[in-house]
Every structure is written in structure tokens, then in C-alpha cells.
């Protein structure tokens, strides 16, 4: 009974916090400035890791697909198709979101947690500023807008990695690969993956912010809450991945 009560307490507090987060901003200019900072901090600074992971995953998918479909019945351009669809449907949105929930989620939770225990959040409240809105909304806006860009970037870099891995190991010719990635393309898949990316961006930032904002105690508690932020947002990304797939692809 206790864990269930705790779960509902967290859900309730999360929605109360979101109610405060989406209150009208005090001074739009300041929020705009902060949003740009967060785009740099959460989005642009994540481009490197997303690029590295995407290129190698693209390579690995190509090689694995090639070795698992070694049959004259399968045309080799199907390798390109498999790489494209794996990146487009699952990897570039969901797996990248899981990786970012580790990087961005822990960052947000520890930043807000430290601000809480060092009374910086109280200092904002004393000034009459809605601290929840001022601190969290720029992060959410930045993530919701930037996650789709990261996803698009990941898809293209992943496709390039696939080509690199395939052509240089000789498992597929360049022409076959390029034919494969264009074969039977369904544009709606791109819409589907971008919707998922934006929603995952919201989940990662809001859940991590919730964990950080309600930190208390000292450094140990902030550390614990950062870990919880990563775990919670990862689990929610997976749950919503299933729900969104069911809603958007069936």
C-alpha cells in the first residue's frame, strides 16, 4: 500500500508543479533569454554525444543486418531499408531520448536540487518570482523544440554511419545502400518520430525538474534525486514509447 500511496503522491505533486510551471510568465523577455541559454545548454551541448552514438549505431546496424540476411532471397538493398527504418522508427527518437535522459535529466535534477538546498529557489520566491515557472519552463521549451532537431540529426548521421560501415567493410555497395534507404519510404514515419521526440523532450525535462525542484537535505539527497530523475524519466520514455506507437502507428 505504501509504494502505491507514494506513487500517487508523486503524481499529484508533479501535476501541481506543472500547474505552477505553466502559469503566465513575469517578464517574457527574461524567459526568452533563458530559453536560448537552455537550448545551448541542453540541446547544442548534446549534439556531440548524439552524433557519436548515431554514427556507430548506424555502422553496427548495417553490419548486423548484412550478416543476418545473408541469403540470395533477400536483395542487398534491404540492408539500407532496415537501417533507415530502425533509425527512423526507434533509435533516433527513443534510444537517443534514453541517452539524453541520462545526460540532460541528471543535469537538470542536480542543478535544481543544488539551487533548492542552497536557498537560491527561496531567494527567487522572496523576490515574488514564480520560481517553478522561471526555472523550468525554459528547459521544457528548449527540450521540446530541440529534441526533434537532435532526432533529425541523429537519423542523418546514423544513415551516414550505416553507409560508412557498409561500404568500407564491403557488406553492401554504395548504390545498393542508397537505393535501400530510399526504398518504400513512408513520410508519416518521420512525423511519428518527431512527435515522439518532442513528447520525450517534455518527459525528460519535466520529470527531472520535478525531482530536482523538490530536493531537500544535502548533497547526498541531491545525488539520489538525480539518479531517480534518470530512472523515472527513462521508464516513462519507454512507457510512452509504447503508448505513442500504439496511438500513432495503428
Amino acid at each position: 500500500m505504501k509504494p502505491l500511496k507514494e506513487l500517487f503522491t508523486h503524481i499529484g505533486r508533479y501535476f501541481i508543479l506543472m500547474g505552477r510551471v505553466f502559469a503566465p510568465p513575469e517578464k517574457k523577455k527574461m524567459y526568452y533569454k533563458r530559453t536560448l541559454q537552455e537550448i545551448e545548454f541542453l540541446g547544442i551541448n548534446s549534439m556531440g554525444i548524439v552524433a557519436i552514438i548515431s554514427i556507430f549505431i548506424g555502422m553496427v546496424i548495417t553490419i548486423q543486418t548484412a550478416y543476418n540476411t545473408e541469403s540470395p532471397l533477400y536483395p542487398s538493398y534491404l540492408i539500407g531499408l532496415a537501417v533507415r527504418d530502425i533509425l527512423l522508427l526507434e533509435f533516433s527518437s527513443t534510444i537517443v531520448a534514453l541517452i539524453l535522459s541520462g545526460k540532460v535529466g541528471s543535469n537538470i535534477a542536480s542543478e535544481l536540487g543544488t539551487m533548492r538546498i542552497t536557498e537560491q529557489i527561496d531567494a527567487l520566491e522572496i523576490m515574488g518570482i514564480n520560481s517553478a515557472s522561471y526555472l523550468i519552463i525554459p528547459k521544457i521549451v528548449a527540450a521540446v523544440f530541440f529534441m526533434p532537431f537532435l532526432t533529425i540529426m541523429s537519423i542523418f548521421i546514423g544513415l551516414f554511419g550505416g553507409w560508412l560501415g557498409g561500404v568500407f567493410t564491403g557488406v553492401i555497395s554504395s548504390a545498393d545502400y542508397l537505393q535501400g534507404i530510399q526504398f518504400a519510404f513512408i513520410p508519416y514515419y518521420a512525423t511519428y518520430t518527431l512527435i515522439k521526440a518532442a513528447i520525450f523532450g517534455f518527459i525528460i525535462t519535466s520529470v527531472s525538474a520535478y525531482r530536482g525542484y523538490y530536493s531537500y537535505g544535502g548533497a547526498l539527497q541531491v545525488g539520489k534525486n538525480s539518479t531517480r530523475a534518470v530512472v523515472d524519466s527513462s521508464i516513462l520514455v519507454l512507457i510512452f514509447n509504447y503508448i505513442l506507437t500504439q496511438l500513432l502507428l495503428t
Partner: protein
């Protein structure tokens, strides 16, 4: 004037402050003193609205502040400045950005006017050539002074300090105390200081409230403090040999 009327606050069933009634005098240095864990920080947080009171009321002039919504409290909060125990400066902002922050949020001043006001406030707290340094790069005493500069940036009517000199060496502590006293007089501010430092109390206390086990135990000024026969107050105030000797000397 700030009036606290029958205020109670408890956490998880434990009453931390009970039935506190105090009038904090206008344009004076008011002090809340008490041992660690006596409830003085909770009382201060109830007064500024960081904690909601369970029972009772907090008045700012004629307005019942404790019963206002967050939105309605904003107008009064613009008249409040607070310096937290650790300074609570924004780590990711420079000294200048910290002091400028309330001006950015609540005024329509031009950049030049804001810059001038920031420098005026920093000058008032004797900080020069540190505008572009981050809080982590300056000393604890300087952080406190920057926090004071930020608190006075909007010309507040009320200034609150939570343990302003804790963690500072005695000399720096005296300088901060002097600064608080000067600011209170110069800007006609009502100051409320939460402290357990007896030097500060003896130097500045115009209206002193002693909190013991969550209740108001005694109230008076620094001269009456010496005369008081209240055993709990005497035990707290004259805990050190030095203070005891000072009291004995004064009696003689």
C-alpha cells in the same frame, strides 16, 4: 510595521513554533534570537511567506500577508529583501548579474540605469572591481555583501537576514553588522535579523525577541537584556564566560 499574531507552525505533527505574537518595529533593527533548533528560522520563513502558517496571521502594515495568494503577495514581496544564511547567490551568474537580476525582473530601467544602480549598490556594500566574478570565486564575506547589495537593489521597505554572520570570522562579522546597521538607518528600512550571535545582538538590537522551544520567551531591547532575570534567556545570552563577566561588570 510587521505584526505576527498567534502564529503556529508544525512539521509532521511536531509543533515547531507555538502561539507567537510579535510586533516588529518600523525602521528599527529587530532581532530574533534563540538557540539552534528553537524555531527562529521557521518563524522568519513564516513571516516572509516561504512557509505557510498553520494558524495565526502575519500582517504587513494593514494587509494580512499570510492569507494572500502567491499572485497577490507579489506586490508586498517587491518591498522585501532577504539575505540568506549562505547568501543564496545564483552560482551561474556573475556578481553584477546577481545584483542586476531584480532590476531586470521588476523594472523597466534602461541598461545604463541598471548598470549605475548595480554599481551604486555594490559600492554601498564596499565591493569594487568584482563585477565579473562568479560567487564561487569570491570569499564568504564578499558573498554576504553581494547578497545584501542584491537585497537592496529595489529599495525595499523590509530587509530580512537569516544568520547574516554565521561562518564568518569575527572581524568580517563586525563589518557586516555595521553595514546592516548603516543600511537600516540610511534607507529607513525595517530590518529583521535572525541570529544567535550575541555580539550582533549587543551592537544592534533595538527590539529583541527571544524564542525558546518554539515560543516567544522574552522581548525587549539590548539594555533590558542585561537586566533581565529570565533564566532561559540568561542561560542563552550569557552562556560564555566572557559574556557572564560583562554582565557582572555592568551590574557592579
Amino acid at each position: 510595521m510587521i505584526r505576527v499574531e498567534n502564529v503556529y507552525k508544525s512539521f509532521q505533527g511536531v509543533e515547531v513554533i507555538k502561539d507567537i505574537n510579535v510586533d516588529f518595529e518600523e525602521r528599527k533593527t529587530n532581532m530574533i534570537i534563540g538557540a539552534s533548533g528553537s524555531g527562529k528560522t521557521v518563524l522568519l520563513k513564516c513571516i516572509v511567506g516561504l512557509l505557510t502558517v498553520d494558524k495565526g496571521r502575519v500582517y504587513y502594515d494593514d494587509t494580512v500577508f499570510s492569507e494572500l495568494s502567491f499572485q497577490k503577495k507579489k506586490d508586498i514581496r517587491k518591498n522585501i529583501g532577504m539575505v540568506f544564511q549562505g547568501g543564496a547567490l545564483f552560482d551561474s551568474a556573475t556578481v553584477e548579474e546577481n545584483v542586476r537580476f531584480p532590476l531586470d525582473m521588476f523594472t523597466e530601467k534602461t541598461d545604463k540605469e541598471k548598470y549605475d544602480r548595480v554599481n551604486e549598490c555594490l559600492e554601498r556594500v564596499n565591493i569594487r572591481n568584482a563585477n565579473h566574478q562568479y560567487p564561487g570565486e569570491i570569499s564568504g564575506g564578499m558573498q554576504k555583501r553581494v547578497a545584501i547589495a542584491r537585497a537592496i537593489a529595489l529599495n525595499p521597505k523590509y530587509l530580512f537576514f537569516d544568520e547574516p554572520i554565521s561562518g564568518l570570522d569575527p572581524m568580517t562579522g563586525i563589518r557586516i553588522d555595521k553595514l546592516i546597521e548603516e543600511i537600516t538607518k540610511d534607507f529607513h528600512i525595517t530590518t529583521i535579523i535572525n541570529t544567535h550571535d550575541m555580539n550582533s545582538v549587543m551592537e544592534m538590537g533595538e527590539n529583541i525577541v527571544f524564542i525558546h522551544e518554539g515560543q516567544k520567551w522574552w522581548e525587549g531591547d539590548r539594555h533590558e537584556l542585561f537586566e533581565s532575570e529570565n533564566p532561559e534567556l540568561n542561560e542563552f545570552v550569557f552562556a560564555t564566560k566572557l559574556a557572564k563577566n560583562a554582565k557582572d561588570q555592568k551590574k557592579r
